[in-house]
């Protein structure tokens, strides 16, 4: 087993190392905070001769994804990355990539969505594209970023899936935070993720040898068939991620639990649910409460789309309450986005339980231990029958 040599890397650099190891044929991205250092690191690799991919200095994000799509539909492997307004600026291509089943991988270094204008961390940008038909993975650590990108290509390019994948991590908290990251060897990655061969692809490719029409005009029943098959592929991706998690563990010695990561959840009286970096702090809160004799538990959602609703419902079964911590706001529901998904998944439970939305950490404010401890205690109280608000804004005076 080659679990790699440890390096001190921030999230963007960890992502860049992963991209390098995946041997893309093309990298196209447009600078935007906080994704930019990832892009710069890839160009550094190119200057050093380590990255042999084509690089395209596009004039905008819609073109970044489109160039990546172009190389992918022509049989290659491509990478792009963005954040926030760059993500919404490429919405045209974003929907086209999933609707035409292009297995491209894109990092989202997550950031708040203008307006008000800020470049700080949030998960709002991801939430703006959650219905876009992509597979979306959300990371907790720099190591997980590196590992998830490698897994993402396996997932995207699998003939049973053929869908684009987002690997998402929070701006600054991960993009600019340095941790010890094990960087596997090229040989080990090549074993796990086969390099693209000129003619070795299993998927249809734009070529004169086997001409096909890409992006065809569709009307009537065939349209429904496209949508149906897209949904089927999404569901296959959910199953595949679990098996890839095992295969990755076999090859590199690291595992993340597949679509979600339960933490002391089985015997818990109540659960906290979140995505991304808040889960680290929440694990501390869970440990603290457990030390006090309170059976707290946590579920970290890794695969946001397709949403692991059945596994989550299974974990929620028998719990007295669930608290959901969101770094984003759903206007109209005026609650967190993940909260809405959790609430929908809880519909599968036999018994109604209180589910509370905690909104916090917007615009890069810290989701501190004391705030999350308060959230956990409030959830516990709701589970024990005390009244309370359904939506709680953490840290808002």
């Amino acid at each position: 087993m080659n679990n790699g040599a440890a390096r001190l890397l921030d999230g963007n650099k960890a992502a860049a190392h992963a991209v390098l190891l995946c041997r893309p044929d093309l990298v196209a991205a447009y600078p935007i905070t906080p994704q930019t250092p990832l892009l710069e690191q890839l160009y550094k690799f190119k200057a050093e001769g380590r990255l042999v991919a084509e690089t395209v200095e596009v004039e905008g994000e819609n073109s970044a994804l489109s160039a990546a799509m172009g190389t992918t539909v022509a049989g290659g492997r491509a990478f792009t990355a963005t954040s926030s307004m760059g993500l919404t600026f490429m919405y045209d291509a974003y929907l086209f990539a999933s609707g035409t089943r292009v297995p491209v991988v894109m990092v989202i270094a997550m950031r708040e969505q203008t307006a008000p204008t800020t470049v700080s961390c949030g998960q709002q940008d991801l939430m703006m594209v959650k219905e876009g038909g992509w597979i979306q993975l959300v990371c907790e650590s720099c190591q997980e970023i590196l590992d998830s990108i490698i897994v993402a290509y396996r997932l995207a390019e699998d003939p049973q899936v053929q869908l684009p994948v987002n690997v998402c991590y929070e701006g600054y908290y991960l993009s600019h935070l340095s941790e010890a990251v094990k960087v596997p060897s090229q040989e080990a990655v090549d074993q796990f993720l086969e390099p693209v061969r000129a003619n070795g692809n299993q998927r249809p490719v734009l070529s004169t040898e086997h001409p096909m029409t890409y992006g065809t005009f569709v009307v009537g029943d065939l349209y429904a068939e496209y949508r149906y098959k897209h949904c089927q592929a999404m569901q296959r991706a959910a199953g595949l991620l679990d098996s890839l998690d095992g295969a990755f563990a076999g090859a590199f010695g690291r595992s993340y639990g597949g679509a979600l990561e339960p933490y002391r959840a089985d015997d818990a009286e109540f659960l906290m649910v979140t995505m991304g970096t808040a889960s680290g702090t929440l694990k501390g809160v869970v440990d603290q409460l457990r030390g006090e004799g309170v059976a707290a538990g946590l579920v970290r959602i890794r695969m946001f789309r397709p949403f692991p609703r059945r596994q989550l419902a299974e974990l929620m079964r028998g719990k007295r309450a669930v608290g959901v911590v969101d770094r984003s706001v759903s206007f109209g529901w005026d609650a967190g986005h993940l909260f809405i998904d959790v609430k929908a998944a809880a519909q599968d439970l036999e018994r109604r339980i209180p589910i509370v939305s905690f909104i916090g950490g917007l615009a890069g404010t810290d989701l501190r231990h004391d705030l999350l401890e308060g959230a956990a205690r409030a959830t516990l109280a709701r589970g024990r029958g005390e009244p309370g608000e359904e939506v709680v804004w953490l840290g808002l005076e």
């Binding site: 044929d25 819609n62 489109s66 160039a67 004169t208 001409p211």
Partner: protein, 441 residues
């Protein structure tokens, strides 16, 4: 003008001004031998890179004919301006009237002498040791469009569509080693398939209005990476080119992506039912630039996209026009030859539906657009400009606008303004040709 008077394409003597080798006079000798007095002369002006042969160009409106006081010159059914020596009095008015030096003088008989194409088999062309002089037979013109049409018959485009004609002609030149790109719009009916059925045997991609050159970039880079010479060619309307899709086009040109981008300019959003675009002509009425008591059609002149592209890093830029297919073909071949940057062809493609014109009018409109200087024909090859179809005397603008219903609301002053803008446009290209002259490839 009635469409019945439209002249058909004639067989013609083609002269490549610029390629005639100095010192050669085979054409003159042949003409002398055949007709005693030469009706052709070679001319070399190295300071302006002119090396060609001067002879009668068989003008459609011959000035010599109009100048002749005895009516000795007339134009026959084959389009040849013929001199009746019996009526010629040797006054020389025809030679003075001709701006092209196309009239010779027979000092022996004191009569004018001019080329009559040797009745369709010119001795000069046969004698020319190079390709400078060629006798072009109209029926052979399409031999240059030698590849089979790759698109299905009966596509859902309007009969008589200029865009469809341009698209089919383009790929009869480009051939099969290409990936074709379209955007949402009329042309996609030929290339993007319908449901599970393909409409072309070429690999094709329908992208978005906003990403065609970027998608092409990714495909082209990958093809080159795998050692293929397959060309990526876009055939896209003016909306996706000049307006919502200009950003990626500008980016691809600046980066020097070796793709071929053909904009078929029908001057409006025709597929959505005739709305104004950035290239819609000044004064033209559309659904979003209507004419009425308070509006006079589009209030602004058209964006000059080919010029923008020429100053945006495109390696090769040309305007083309389906009424001049041989010129389109030559420019397309040049565009395909260029591999060190983006080639941009701006193809004038009147939409008779949106322009409120007769169904069979698009070629006539296209020709008149050139002859009135509304649409200058030029190319810029790596920053060197030349006008490919000089129009020394612009026809009156009414000969163009009268064919087009969407100008019908314009008054005399409005048309005068259109004509002046056209002249300014043409002079601007002329100025560029002088400032950055074309000296061969």
């Amino acid at each position: 003008m009635s469409l019945q008077t439209v002249p058909v394409v004639r067989d013609t003597l083609a002269i490549d001004f610029g390629a005639c080798p100095p010192g050669c006079s085979e054409c003159v000798k042949a003409c002398e031998q055949h007709r005693s007095v030469a009706r052709i002369a070679t001319l070399h002006l190295p300071e302006v890179s002119f090396h060609g042969a001067i002879t009668c160009l068989q003008c459609s409106e011959p000035a010599c004919r109009d100048a002749c006081p005895t009516g000795a010159i007339s134009r026959d059914d084959a389009g040849v301006a013929r001199l009746d020596r019996g009526r010629c009095v040797g006054c020389g008015a025809c030679a003075i009237a001709c701006e092209w030096g196309g009239i010779s003088f027979d000092f022996g008989t004191i009569r004018a002498a001019k080329c009559d194409t040797c009745d369709g088999d010119p001795a000069c062309a046969r004698a020319c040791p190079t390709d400078v002089l060629r006798w072009v037979e109209s029926r052979r013109l399409f031999e240059r469009f030698s590849h089979p049409d790759p698109f299905t018959k009966g596509a859902s485009l309007c009969p008589g569509c200029a865009g469809e004609l341009g698209f089919r002609l383009a790929f009869r030149v480009i051939g099969d080693d290409a990936v074709v790109f379209v955007g949402p719009g009329c042309a996609c009916a030929l290339a993007n398939g319908l449901g599970a059925e393909a409409t072309t045997r070429l690999p094709s991609a329908m992208a978005l209005m906003t990403n065609i050159p970027s998608l092409m970039t990714g495909v082209a880079r990958r093809l080159r990476q795998t050692g293929k010479r397959t060309r990526c060619v876009a055939f896209v309307g003016d909306g996706a080119t000049a307006d919502v899709g200009f950003q990626p086009l500008s980016g691809a040109a600046e980066r020097g992506e070796p793709i071929v981008y053909i904009c078929y300019d029908n001057e409006g959003y025709m597929n959505t039912g005739v709305q104004r675009s950035g290239t819609t002509s000044h004064g033209a009425r559309t659904m979003t630039s209507p004419a009425g008591p308070r509006l006079k059609g589009k209030g602004q002149p058209a964006k000059e996209v080919p010029l923008m592209m020429a100053f945006n890093g495109a390696a090769y830029v040309a305007t083309a026009n389906i009424a001049y297919p041989e010129d389109f073909e030559a420019k397309l071949r040049r565009a395909l030859d260029v591999e060190d940057g983006l080639s941009y062809l701006h193809l004038y493609s009147p939409c008779y539906v949106g322009w409120e014109s007769p169904m069979d009018s698009v070629l006539q409109i296209s020709r008149r657009a050139v002859e009135t200087r509304m649409f200058p024909m030029w190319e810029a090859d790596h920053g060197k400009f030349r006008i490919t179809h000089p129009v020394d005397q612009a026809r009156p603008i009414e000969e163009f606008t009268s064919l087009i219903g969407r100008f019908r609301h314009l008054g005399h002053d409005d048309l005068k303004m259109l004509a002046e803008e056209a002249q300014a446009r043409y002079r601007r290209i002329e100025a560029l040709c002088q400032a950055m002259p074309f000296n061969g490839r």
